[in-house]
Symmetry: C3
Subunit: 340 residues, 3 copies
């Protein structure tokens, strides 16, 4: 494989911002790094270098896998939380994002930001914030999940599907809402719709009425499908949805009513979601599929989004996808900020 400098300095906030060939390059390198975990020729490409991880929201896999990725490339990821920053807010004196971003650009070779629903006043505010960091940074800025997108999760999903299905073109993925007590973000789901449709899959989206996603993302997904001559459909009929699909992605997400008066209303979202207990991915429904794989970005809310039986079945690839987070992150870090 030929390594290129073409991606040096590039930010990644949504996979839709990158060309398909660029994403292919990432996936190829990620696979090579997975096959040769600790002994590839890029294992010191971040030596002596710092990557900042800025977590407005806590995280499990994202923190673990980004910090491990930097370590595996010979560098170091600094774990930063906003309580340890003194940023300006509407109510308190403090530093502007411009000042913070410009100084961080002097210390590090890259900056990851994570900001989700409960830290922002309205849907889209996280996207705006991360784009503002990008605007004032002279180093690559990554989304480590924000209200709208989760690019590294999308890349890990596609890497896992390629490993298990080989050819993605023409395969059908079902993205189906599941109930549960977590009022989850749209980011992983929306990123998956975009990247799956970019890679030639046909996309079926199923959810109870009232759980529409971002119409901008839906439009883009539709267009991606058209470009690949694939189908895109939305249904509210759960059983219909499972028929003949090759991949099932069951996941809870919040409704568009989650924000009211500039606040994220988690309890009312949970109450509403728990009324749809029939929306769970179980063995019966999986029988309707074309021997489908089960994928999920984790953490899995077992017993709500999906039964234990499905999540732990031989067709579940959740741990492989989780592992792939590490590999795609290493690949993107190496290509955008590595020295080689």
């Amino acid at each position: 494989m030929k390594y290129t400098n073409a991606l040096q300095g590039k930010s990644l906030i949504c996979t839709q911002d990158w060309k398909k060939e660029e994403l292919d390059l990432v996936l190829d390198l990620a696979l090579a790094m997975k096959e040769n975990r600790y002994d590839h020729h890029l294992k010191d490409c971040l030596k002596n270098r710092t990557f900042f991880m800025f977590f407005y929201n806590p995280s499990v896999r994202t923190r673990q896998s980004f910090e491990a990725a930097a370590t595996e490339l010979g560098g170091h990821a600094q774990f930063l939380e906003p309580k340890s920053m003194r940023l300006k807010t509407e109510k308190t004196a403090g530093e502007t994002i411009e000042d913070a971003a410009k100084v961080m650009s002097r210390y590090a070779v890259g900056l990851g930001v994570r900001i989700l629903e409960d830290k922002i006043p309205y849907y889209g505010a996280g996207e705006a914030l991360i784009r503002e960091y990008e605007q004032f940074s002279s180093i690559p800025v990554f989304s480590m999940a924000h209200d709208k997108y989760h690019p590294f999760q999308g890349l890990a999903d596609i890497m896992g599907l390629k490993e298990h299905l080989q050819e993605l073109k023409g395969k059908k993925v079902l993205m189906v809402w599941g109930h549960g007590g977590l009022a989850r973000s749209w980011c992983s789901v929306q990123e998956h719709l975009l990247i799956a449709s970019r890679f030639g899959m046909s996309v079926r989206l199923a959810y109870p009425r009232g759980y529409d996603l971002d119409s901008d993302v839906i439009e883009k997904t539709k267009k991606n499908c058209e470009n690949n001559s694939q189908e895109f459909s939305i249904t509210h009929d759960m059983d219909e949805a499972y028929k003949d699909v090759h991949v099932v992605y069951s996941r809870n997400w919040m409704s568009p009513e989650a924000y009211q008066d500039g606040e994220f209303h988690k309890p009312s979202e949970i109450e509403k979601a728990m009324k749809h207990k029939e929306w769970i991915c179980d063995e019966e429904k999986m029988k309707l599929t074309s021997h489908a794989l089960f994928i999920h970005p984790m953490p899995v809310d077992r017993g709500n989004e999906v039964t234990d039986g499905v999540a732990s079945s031989s067709r579940s690839i959740i741990y492989d996808v989780a592992e792939n987070r590490l590999h795609v992150q290493k690949a993107v870090m190496a290509l955008t900020m590595g020295k080689y």
Copy 2:
């Protein structure tokens, strides 16, 4: 010294789980690493590799020494706290330990867990939790102190005693309760009883009535002593206890009544302990010993467990033992997860 692969992949939750020869191997390597701190042939055996440290409870020396140990082996220890994990509990949706452990096994080469009294509903729950992590992990799991054991403290104790006493066989150690305001865990004390008796020391245990330790640990200690033809005794007479011993280990610990109705009752434990102000290791009592060494796992509660005079005397080896935490941890990490 011959390095072996025999310990690769092995967990360490209590030193009693390991063979005596395995512990000897650790101590030999730890000593070699201490003599050649930054320039031994294993100094890059964790290069590019991640060790997860999962702290349900905060820590001083354990965090500092494990993170330093990983650094000194060329790797990186990630500091993780449960607030940054979203684990399932009885009350909240979240991730199972099975899912967490399986994914962490994909990212790291080892996992340390620390969980003490105040984070669990009954004695033994920490032991159960850490064994559950071990069951689902494909990488070594270490106890960084839990309610029952503290294996690396035990190893550091023995390393320190070997350095200062040379021969341990037949030497007498006194483990004596001290009063104080901390309602301390049984873990360091119980680990010491087990490992001191494994290494051929005779063990005297002294405490006020009402401060019995785990009977399972006492039985194992008794058996260890028998196997080495050494004495084991329990006394409630403080002065009698100090006579002719070679080592004094004075430490506060909670009573078996600390847990009631699924909660850890710290204030009542402290109140009860503070009634026994005569239980302090002081210069007078040390005169009864055979010029004994003073050891303690730190932090020392000076003025309660022990007087300043004893803790800072020339016979106190507390700083040497604390330093040894680093060396035994490096040795175990190198042997169980290092690449060489």
Copy 3:
């Protein structure tokens, strides 16, 4: 340049404690490291080694730049917060600073401490604490900002001024109070007075009545100026102050009345400061200067201490100074604790 072992093991709590030639050595090395960021011959001088950063107070640049500095020298900086230490206080049992410092000296090659106004009962208590750490440590102890001094900020200031002014001797710096809602520490300001006067600048200090700084620092600054045959003056006339200076440093600081009855009274300080809204560095006042540079230790409280126009002007060197934090810290770490 000749590297010397003369600084090995040396603490840095205030630049005034070091000889001028020693500070010159630091600045020369910092500049060399800046010119050759990732490829100088000291880039592995902390390999396998740990630097402890002990933050009683949170931090932005200090944490980022110290942790990055250790990474860039091949080592690792551990981020420690007092909540994860169990130190003795007047009210709770715990560990003495002597015990903590002696053990940390066994694990690491250096220790940085940050402690500011709101964590201490009176001005000077932070200085006393950090000197106590130094007394009991056998490794270098650094101030990462405390109530009295901020040596690395002072070094970064001077490095920035040298880069932009070349010759410092005889140049005039204005240190001027700015209003704002942060009740800021004296540390950066006082360190700057000392180091600017050491390097031959003449110093003008301007503030509203009631905002006197530490008289001990003022005396030392005066003496430094005398030694270099430079002027030192204090004025309460803002416009007079700006005339003909080459450098303007505008910064809010608390009044000497901030501490009362052993507590730091932030709200009353802010209320008092906000009455002096005319004390802001703006374009009009900058016109009175000799085309002065604007410097500030950041975070900048834009709109209070200084206008956006000045802070973002072509004469503002705030980002360069912020970047220099990294370089001077690398240089001091290499010289005091590096292996080469």
